[in-house]
């Protein structure tokens, strides 16, 4: 068993590793991360997770529901630390797994992965408490500077394979666009894909004909044509799945069908109109107070037109039009982001062109929310699956840009949007946690 495997085992038991090992680990992690681009290319299948915030036991619950590393591929969208009691163990475990299985794990930076924020929201104090000095905090912050700013997921399937054990009456697999699972054996709701209309082959943004959206696996009359579809979109029966926000969310994704999925912690920036512009940033620094890098980590989508000022004091608010234009221009089918608490674990907005995924159940041990994972399935055709070259050269995308893959998928006459399967889960039960931080430190009150 190598040192790294031992460190992983120790961290899984929620015991911090010695300072010297942290130093070594962070050093290795930096060597690995420096090779990654600002926007990492990830191939489906992958399971996407949102904020963790030091809730170690809930992270373990996440692995129990979604599968273990390296068996399941994971992409974490930042905010590993602060607020929870076990920021240190959570982040170091994820980092260990990243170093051990670089191809199976993707970590991108959140707004809490910053020196300034962690000194205020708990990570700094936790390191000081657990090691008696700030060295470990310093090592971790150095790693933060090297984390990628975003990721592009390629080759996600358009159709959800029906999971076995489902009633046979479920609609044909290729008509299902979204499935919501409860961390129970059951599909809470399943949303059908809008029917393709003839002459829609251009594949660009198109007016959708929402006819799906019936819950609980009852196959709606999928034959209802495009004509009546638009009228029913505002009918109450057609409200989205829990968390998908507004009505008619299954009205087809906008942007390039079966295109790539962009993952970023916060959202978009007025300074970034192309994904390639993210690649031009110099990311190896503390998160600045303004500018493109700051916006990517701080912005939020909102029901507004265009851009707005963010109440957070950093980043911006952006509306549906911004997302649609951005997705279209960049051949994206979906933006996945985290950064905001959603009680239902996930929330799709703007005709399912952007989704918020939140993975910290019972946030701050008191919010009462559930958490979610977003599973993007592999493309059944196998066309979207590229042999990853990053075994040797660490995640450089080996010269195969996203575009090449998309072209192939376009030829297949893909339907809209990647198929997304959300798994909702709850906080780990009390008896699976240890005692919370042994002594409440007096430092807080001094």
């Amino acid at each position: 068993m190598s040192d790294l495997d031992r460190a992983i085992a120790q961290l899984r038991a929620c015991r911090p590793i010695p300072e010297a090992e942290v130093r070594q680990l962070c050093h290795k992690a930096r060597e690995l991360l420096i090779e990654e681009g600002n926007v990492v290319t990830v191939n489906a299948p992958v399971t996407i997770c949102g904020d963790i915030h030091g809730q170690f036991h809930d992270l373990m619950e996440l692995f129990r529901v979604g599968g273990d590393v390296p068996d399941t591929n994971y992409l974490f969208m930042g905010d590993f630390v602060d607020r929870g009691f076990y920021s240190l163990e959570s982040f170091l475990l994820l980092l260990c797994l990243k170093v051990r299985y670089p191809d199976r794990m993707t970590l991108i930076r959140g707004n809490h992965e910053s020196r300034q924020i962690t000194t205020v929201y708990g990570f700094y104090d936790e390191c000081l408490r657990k090691y008696g000095s700030a060295n470990v905090w310093r090592y971790c912050c150095d790693v933060f500077d090297y984390l990628a700013l975003g990721a592009i997921v390629l080759g996600a399937s358009n159709t959800l394979p029906s999971s076995s054990g489902q009633p046979a009456a479920s609609p044909p697999a290729d008509e299902v666009e979204i499935e919501v699972h409860n961390a129970h054996g059951h599909v809470i709701s399943r949303f059908l894909r809008p029917k393709e209309t003839k002459g829609d082959g251009t594949g660009g943004a198109r007016t959708a004909s929402p006819n799906g959206g019936l819950s609980n696996g009852v196959s709606s009359d999928s034959s209802s044509g495009s004509g009546s579809g638009s009228a029913s979109s505002s009918a109450p029966a057609n409200t989205g799945p829990p968390g998908s926000g507004a009505s008619g969310s299954s009205g087809g994704s906008v942007g390039n069908p079966a295109g790539a999925v962009l993952c970023v912690h916060g959202g978009l920036s007025p300074l970034i109109d192309m994904v390639d512009k993210i690649r031009l940033l110099d990311r190896k620094q503390e998160v600045p107070h303004e500018g493109a890098m700051c916006d990517l980590l701080w912005s939020d989508p909102d029901e507004i037109d265009g851009w707005g000022l963010s109440p957070r004091g950093a980043g911006f608010l952006f509306g549906a039009d911004i997302v649609k234009v951005f997705n279209h221009r960049n051949d994206l089918s979906l933006i996945a982001r985290a950064h905001q608490l959603v009680m239902e674990g996930f929330k799709e907005m703007f005709d399912a062109s952007i989704v918020t995924v939140w993975s910290a159940p019972n946030y701050c041990y008191r919010c009462g929310n559930v958490a979610a994972l977003l599973e993007l399935s592999e493309d059944e055709s196998g066309l979207g699956v590229l042999a990853r070259s990053n075994g040797e050269v660490n995640r450089s995308d080996g010269g195969v840009g996203p575009r090449g893959v998309l072209m192939e998928n376009d030829l297949m006459g893909a339907r809209s949007g990647p198929a997304r399967r959300y798994r909702v889960f709850q906080a780990a039960p009390q008896d699976s946690r240890g005692m919370p931080a042994k002594k409440p430190v007096a430092d807080y009150f001094l």
Binding site: E35, P45, D68, D103, S163, H186, E378, G382, P429
Partner: protein, 624 residues
């Protein structure tokens, strides 16, 4: 200490440490305190006594964190001041620390003082320790008195009777102190203190103190007297207890206390109390009190008393139990608080051995059935996890008959942890119910779990299949299980395809060589060319498990059955042949895979197969 700083090189580190004791940075001071023993060792016992201890004596004006560390260190310092005969020199700094305002510091100081007291001779205790105890107890400020309360029990047995009497008198004053903080501490320590003295003195002097505390107007003091009561009842022989009416009346007043915190303490320690008093009191006073607490207004009290049900019920006779107690217990099933129901759920099964078969069927089964339908998952879980006890009493047949519908329902529960608990009970049920019944009612469920949306359930399902195979045999498995497991390998989602690999890993030890050759290997060969690397490296892992099994497997039978039968067996040559012809080619292919993880696991597996040193495989690729 000025001379220490200009000493030679050998002492230089010590000088640094001593300087650090006075450093501005708290962390450095803390560090130096933790290495105080090093300093003392370097100074030698005499200089430690004469220079270091007086210096520490004056350094109580520091951060609390440093003082806690100092208090702790001093407790183990006897060996550095020249052994127990010099132990008393440590008392002075600790006395100062015991008067500090911060409770954490005081507690540590008291702990250390008691540690030192244990090593002192009786003369030293009388000469140095007792005066210290008295001084602290007579101090003006409550902090010292609170510390003083903790310093009676340890020296008591070491000193002569007149001193003992003086100690008891002084303690009595603490019990009558004006401040509740001191009285609380006195009550806490009284419980330990009474155990040091003979019954006669307890009756004469301690019971009045107890009585005074029971009537305290602060509930925070009263609730601590429950422990004192238990201690007294344990010291005073049961046959004498009846003559001390005051004990009983105190007990009654505590049970009826208007503060729920006091009633909670009684409820929480009910079994202990019942064991300490004589049987008559149990029957006459405690049974009604128990029923009353079960009906208490506060959910916290009911939760606490629900936890005492089996313990207390074992102490009363059957008739009382059935007539007086069971009715109230049965009402708790529909208690309004989920926490009470959950507590009941963990304890109720404990009643089964006490009640016996017929009464369990009459009284407990209906309660079980209702609690299995509880809306709160924790209640259901607690019931299931304790089914074992009931099973032993009434037998699986009856349990299965009445509980099967409930179990089937729970097997599809919305909460995955409930499903997980049910899976754990499947092998037991299966072994008792037999193949036919199982195939009819439960096999569908067991297979369904293989495709559960939650990873942990899928994993548990594979372990369940292994246990089922152990029960029903390999014939049954190759017909009922293997085809379904193999079918999962064709699932369009990689997470579900992986279930096939996991299942093979766990099933390997319970299948025959034929099954491996005919069913398992073809499926794995197909999976070696899966699109998803995660599947391919899991195939490699599975191969390494299979290699281990094939090396040992004889022509007939499975590893599990042969190990159970304890018959020696020789591996079949066919096993090695399968490894060479079917597995190695696939592993060689996987070793040339594009994905680094696949190569790693394939290399590890291949190395195990050829007997090479494991770990010679591709090193972890962490740098370019």
């Amino acid at each position: 200490m000025a001379d220490a700083t200009n000493a030679n090189d050998e002492l230089y580190p010590i000088a640094v440490l001593i300087d650090e004791l006075k450093h501005d940075d708290v962390l450095l001071r803390l560090n130096a305190i933790h290495r105080l023993s090093t300093i003392a060792l370097a100074l030698g016992a005499e200089r430690t006594r004469e220079e270091l201890i007086p210096f520490l004596d004056e350094s109580v004006e520091d951060e609390d964190e440093v003082l806690v560390a100092l208090s702790e260190e001093l407790g183990t310092f006897i060996e550095y001041v020249g052994g127990p005969q010099w132990g008393h020199v440590l008392l002075s700094p600790l006395e100062n620390l015991a008067a500090i305002e911060e409770p954490v510091v005081r507690d540590k100081a008291v702990e250390s003082l008691n540690k030192i007291c244990n090593e002192l001779s009786p003369q030293q205790v009388e000469e140095y320790f007792i005066p210290l105890t008295i001084r602290l107890s007579k101090a003006d400020w409550f902090t010292s008195k609170v510390s003083g309360c903790g310093l009676y029990t340890t020296p008591y047995s070491k000193v002569s009777p007149p001193i003992q009497e003086q100690l008891r008198q002084q303690f009595g004053q603490l019990v009558h102190d004006d401040t509740p903080m001191v009285r609380r501490q006195a009550a806490t320590n009284l419980a330990k203190f009474v155990k040091e003295m003979p019954a006669a003195i307890v009756v004469e002097e301690m019971i009045p103190m107890f009585q005074h505390l029971v009537q305290d107007d602060q509930d925070s003091v009263r609730l601590l007297t429950v422990e004192v009561l238990i201690s007294i009842a344990e010291v005073v022989p049961k046959e004498q207890q009846a003559s001390h009416g005051v004990l009983l009346s105190s007990l009654r007043s505590l049970i009826d206390d208007k503060s729920w915190r006091v009633r909670y303490m009684i409820a929480d320690r009910f079994e202990k109390i019942a064991k300490a008093v004589d049987e008559e009191v149990v029957a006459r006073d405690l049974v009604p009190a128990f029923v009353k607490l079960l009906k208490d207004n506060e959910a916290e009290v009911r939760t606490a008393i629900a936890g005492q049900i089996p313990g207390f019920c074992a102490l009363v006779d059957r008739k009382t139990l059935l007539n007086d107690i069971m009715v109230t217990v049965e009402n708790l099933v529909s208690d309004s608080s989920q926490h009470v129901r959950a507590a009941l759920g963990t304890q109720i099964s404990g009643l089964a051995p006490i009640l016996g078969k017929q009464e369990t069927i009459d009284h407990l089964l209906p309660m079980f059935l209702q609690m299995l339908k509880d809306e709160f998952p924790e209640v259901r879980l607690h019931i299931i996890s304790k089914l074992e006890l009931v099973n032993q009493v009434i037998g699986i047949d009856l349990l299965a008959q009445s509980l099967l519908p409930a179990i089937v329902q729970l097997a599809e529960d919305k909460q995955w942890r409930v499903r997980l608990a049910i899976i754990g009970h499947m092998p037991l049920l299966a072994s008792q119910l037999g193949v036919e019944f199982f195939d009819e009612k439960l096999s569908q469920l067991c297979m369904g779990w293989l495709g559960d949306t939650v990873f942990s359930i899928r994993e548990a399902a594979t372990h369940n299949l292994k246990k089922l195979t152990e029960v029903f045999g390999v014939e049954w498995a190759s017909e009922a299980i293997i085809p379904k497991v193999m079918a999962m390998g064709a699932h369009p989602n990689y997470l579900y395809r992986m279930t096939t690999c996991f299942a093979i890993n766990t099933l390997a030890s319970v299948v025959t060589i034929d099954v491996i050759a005919k069913s398992i290997l073809p499926m794995l060969e197909k999976l070696t060319s899966d699109d998803i690397p995660n599947i391919r490296f899991n195939v490699a892992k599975t191969y390494s498990v299979l290699i281990g099994v094939l090396r040992r497997l004889p022509d007939q039978g499975t590893i599990y059955t042969l190990e159970q039968a304890k018959t020696p067996f020789t591996p079949s040559p066919r096993g090695q042949q399968l490894i060479d012809e079917r597995i190695m080619p696939s592993l060689e292919k996987l070793q040339k895979d594009d994905d680094v993880d696949v190569r790693y696991f394939a290399t590890t597996a291949a190395a195990a197969a050829t007997g090479a040193v494991v770990g010679g495989g591709e090193p972890m690729n962490t740098s370019p």
